[in-house]
């Protein structure tokens, strides 16, 4: 049976280098499917430049809209709404929806005696499938202020699996979002292993612990990569010690390398921009280790 290995790259703290590492690992792969699960602030497409051949809208939820013609201003909806999303405004006491607070639960529209509340779908978010040099890429764009980024991430994951199956790819590389909430959960659930990219700062370690705890609950094989390791050697040692104690392998320490930024400015991965650099050679080792590809 066709078996696909899913490698998730997460970090807890933002800006530690998830996307840069993901891009480098992807560049080294032969035949790969990429799932960009940072749907809030996606960046990987800037490097991989997918040629999208498919896109679909995604309904993140619904927002309540009051029809003031039929509303009798009884305020029953205000009593029921637990999100404080319905307010009485101006002197006439008209009832209004606070769009940013509306959770889209439909309760107001169901209990309104005058059927004056309509639910309108929010469908400005999109997901895409495209061709990249060495495989396929599934990515998405969450419309500003939308909820349910976790659900959109799940769609990206599912599409990535389908794409891998139909194209015969053996590896899916997932570039995850920061945080430990719904989007992070949806990014790592069901993955074969998770690579947590951290940096040697107090905040980096703090957030590393939270994301590793989350991954631990899903019983996923966990690895740690310390990026910009030489910026604070003491903290790097402290992180390594802690990981050692927790039995979580630190599989790579990358130096702070301005070429990493130069590569990003050129919208390239470090392994493509500076293939002979020390950073690239460490990442090549990581790639072999993670994909189990001994021959490269």
């Amino acid at each position: 049976m066709h078996k696909v290995k899913e490698i998730a790259i997460l970090s807890g703290k933002g800006g530690t280098g998830k996307t840069s590492l993901a891009a480098a690992l992807i560049t080294l792969s032969q035949h790969v499917v990429v799932a960009d699960c940072d749907v809030d602030a996606a960046n990987l497409h800037l490097v991989l430049e997918p040629d999208n051949y498919h896109q679909e809208p995604f309904v993140t939820g619904h927002k309540a809209v009051i029809n003031h013609e039929s509303c009798i201003e009884c305020g029953l909806c205000m009593d029921y709404c637990r999100f404080h999303a319905i307010e009485r405004r101006n002197t006439e006491g008209k009832v209004f929806i606070v769009e940013t607070s509306c959770d889209g639960c439909w309760l107001c529209s169901r209990i309104c005696p005058e059927k004056a509340i309509k639910m309108v779908p929010s469908d400005r978010s999109r997901w895409f499938v495209g061709n990249i040099k060495n495989g396929k890429m599934v990515h998405a764009r969450l419309a500003p202020g939308e909820e349910n980024s976790g659900k959109l991430v799940s769609v990206v994951r599912e599409q990535a699996r389908k794409t891998a199956e139909s194209s015969g790819a053996k590896t899916i590389i997932i570039d995850g979002p920061p945080g430990t909430g719904c989007a992070a959960i949806a990014s790592l659930a069901g993955a074969n292993c998770v690579v947590v990219v951290t940096e040697p700062t107090g905040s980096g370690l703090h957030d590393l612990k939270r994301i590793l705890e989350l991954a631990g609950r899903f019983q996923i094989k966990r690895y740690v990569v310390i990026n910009k390791a030489d910026l604070n050697q003491d903290m790097t040692d402290q992180i390594s010690l802690w990981c050692n104690k927790e039995n979580i392998p630190v599989i790579g320490k990358l130096p702070f390398d301005p070429r990493m930024v130069h590569a990003m400015v050129q919208c390239q991965s470090i392994t493509a921009w500076a293939p002979d650099s020390e950073t690239s050679s460490i990442i090549k080792g990581l790639h072999r280790y993670l994909t189990g590809d001994k021959t490269e």
Partner: protein, 293 residues
């Protein structure tokens, strides 16, 4: 002296991309305001990865557990009519009438109360579920730090953020350290703010995510300005874009290994470097001016 709430200055420090320096900017701004004897509160709204208290500590003077209501279905009273399942818009209720089975997937429950309103048989009650903790710390006289800390794996940190903001009452200056991204937790933090400081870095990733944040704030009609962190490390595209869009560039913080080292040790730059103390005071003055405009 009591302060007229109309004069409370509420600012949010935000960014689309993670790790651009939101916490760095908000903690240093807090420190200069504190030195000016302002009545100031720094509220860490990045509930999924709160880092402010790594830099600023104080004695905890208030602590609140944030909970949500969770539906509890009594199988004795349930008649398996499935109305609660139909009304639950989050697919949190699974009902198998033929097997006389009904249960709730707790993680999917949004505490909306629809099932409770739907059930005519009194079969649904509620219990509390913990989502996180909000703490208020006294840093010095008139200076406080409030932290929203969501439990690991909680789906939405919005109730925790709301509670933290509610606990941040009546300073002269409220600084909110926002979560990254542009989704609901970011919106929750930005809604009460009168001005938003977007922190970015001069790279294609930083610029791409800055554009997303700007688009969101424009839709919300929020005034904002930009701080470019790690200036000199990337390219100049962000500056020409800001100019073209007529967005105020509030401050440029150069990339400097020394700043990175100070940050990595959980120290505040303004306490280590006089020039930066001055630079952050200037930033605060600029924000004050734009806020009262």
């Amino acid at each position: 002296m009591t302060i007229n709430p109309a004069y409370i200055m509420k600012i949010a420090i935000a960014s689309g991309k993670g790790g651009t320096g939101k916490t760095f900017v908000s903690t240093n701004l807090f420190a200069v305001a504190q030195k000016e004897n302002k009545k100031v509160i720094l509220t860490d709204c990045d509930a999924e990865e709160p880092n402010v208290t790594e830099f600023i500590n104080g004695q905890i003077i208030e602590e609140k557990v944030v909970t949500q209501q969770l539906a509890v279905i009594d199988p004795e009273k349930c008649v398996y009519c499935e109305k609660c399942r139909e009304w639950c818009n989050y697919n949190a209720i699974i009902c198998l009438p033929e097997n006389r089975q009904i249960f709730l997937i707790e993680d999917l429950c949004h505490d909306c109360g629809a099932c409770l309103a739907a059930c005519k048989y009194g079969a649904i009650s509620e219990k509390e579920k913990k989502l996180g903790i909000v703490t208020k710390r006294l840093v010095s006289k008139d200076a406080f730090v409030v932290e929203a800390r969501a439990d690991v794996g909680v789906y939405s940190s919005v109730p925790v953020i709301n509670k933290a903001i509610a606990l941040s009452s009546d300073p002269e200056l409220l600084i909110m350290d926002a979560p990254p991204g542009i989704s609901c937790s970011f919106i929750t933090t930005v809604v009460p703010a009168c001005f938003v400081v977007l922190v970015t870095e001069p790279t294609p990733f930083g610029l791409n995510d800055l554009k997303l944040s700007v688009e969101t704030l424009e839709q919300m009609n929020k005034p904002f300005g930009v701080v470019v962190n790690r200036a000199g490390l990337g390219d100049d595209r962000v500056y020409s874009w800001l100019e073209e869009k007529k967005i105020p560039l509030l401050m440029k913080i150069p990339f400097d290994r020394n700043i990175a080292r100070i940050y990595s040790q959980n120290l505040l730059l303004v306490n280590q470097d006089k020039d930066y103390k001055e630079a952050f005071r200037t930033l605060l003055r600029k924000i004050e001016r734009l806020c009262t405009k």
